[in-house]
Symmetry: C2
Subunit: 260 residues, 2 copies
């Protein structure tokens, strides 16, 4: 039993973009004309022309520019907006497929329920969501310990319950996300301090936002990952934190959740 689902982008309740049209647009991008693209896909010129016409009519901004006559008889090119749209569609499609896979995993068609599935389609408030790979996995009777390796090779340990490990279907080597609230992050200026069983990630401060009582400090870890911490104004002043300072972000492993 599997689930299948196609994604269609509508404008004005009319289909604007779908799998086949994306392929056509890409062929146009590649060949520079509708007629050649139609042969490449393959589809009839009429179908291709109608698709393109429909796309351009429905879209607020032109997706392709068509020229009749001229050098080489004319031609058709995809506008920058069109290229963006194609890219966008792929992103959406990827997210969608991810969701469908998850949905299918969780659905047990024989028993007839969605099992442990609570909600898949949910965004959570936690600022810190770091993508990684499960490096090691230990479970006791109640607790479990998961170590993730981030793209930046940094490691993050999460203490979660054994039930959670099972529900998420965690396995060594699989992709997962480390999640924790910015309020459970401590900021230290000493780089080489070591505390028991804590996750410590170092990097330069790239932004400081000051509020009435709290201050949000954002530091870059590795290439393009950031960690946000919310600390009290007093603590921030005491440490004399400035943008550019190198700091260490500390997170208790019991504050870290895991997402898949």
């Amino acid at each position: 039993m599997e689930l299948q689902s196609s994604l269609t982008l509508l404008s004005d309740n009319q289909p604007l973009l779908l799998e086949k049209r994306i392929r056509l647009l890409e062929a146009i991008e590649q060949h520079g004309s509708i007629s050649k693209a139609a042969k490449a896909v393959p589809m009839s010129y009429k179908a291709a022309w109608e698709a393109i016409d429909s796309i351009n009519n429905l879209s607020s901004k032109p997706v392709v520019e068509r020229e009749t006559g001229g050098k080489g008889g004319g031609g058709t090119v995809v506008t920058p907006y069109g290229k963006k749209l194609i890219e966008m569609f792929y992103l959406l499609k990827k997210q969608h497929q991810l969701f469908i896979d998850k949905l299918c995993e969780n659905a047990d068609f024989d028993s007839g329920d969605l099992g442990n599935l609570k909600r898949i389609a949910m965004q959570i408030s936690a600022r810190n969501q770091l993508q990684g790979r499960v490096l090691s996995l230990h479970t006791g009777e109640v607790s479990g310990r998961v170590v993730l390796e981030l793209k930046s090779k940094e490691r993050i340990t999460a203490n979660i319950t054994k039930d959670a490990v099972e529900n998420l279907g965690l396995r060594e080597g699989m992709d997962a996300v480390a999640i924790f609230k910015s309020s459970s992050v401590l900021v230290a200026k000493e780089e080489n301090l070591r505390l028991s069983a804590q996750n410590s990630l170092s990097g330069p401060i790239i932004q400081i936002t000051t509020g009435e009582v709290n201050v949000e400090v954002i530091a870059r870890i590795g290439q393009d990952e950031t960690i946000a911490a919310v600390i009290t104004k007093g603590a921030c002043e005491e440490l004399d934190l400035q943008v550019g300072n190198r700091v260490t972000m500390l997170v208790k492993s019991s504050s870290v959740m895991v997402g898949v």
Copy 2:
């Protein structure tokens, strides 16, 4: 700009269940025969019969039972398995629609990126995910305070960053989920103790799982909601917790995340 997506359940790479077939099955459930159902949907008898035949052939267990001849000329009934399948499909469809809505909300087609969307299709390890409604909402320069009212009328306060409030698009009255780790829940036996700014939820213990060092305590809050707490074995013994005991679960509002 909107997104549209249909959901199809496949078996053996053949379409087994889709929107139209579900409607047909429901009409059969209601009218007791293929011919009447076909009229009700509406579709031709042939199409209806072929759909039903295909469904029954593809499914491992029979979805409908057909009888030719007999009282009233025969008839067709949906099996209990078939009914389960229909129910299942609705659940999947609901989750799917929820996802599509979220995807659409986050996609900005003019700017051409997925904005703040990190990952929508994610399950998280947190055991405690309580559905509620946003009762009140206050944001400062950095921090924000969200009060959720659960179905059981209990209230849960979450301290999250202002950015998170904005990213999630939180508004008073909208549905949201309070999320917190079971390890950030404290268990108390006194019902009427009051601690500063803490969330306290009371109910009877329905399950205790003992491990090497930790104990998982699950209490029922309201009708069908539960809260899981992981505490040390020592603490559990000291409180002499037993299944059936009425306890209060305490959660710091800074440990609570919000999901939408």
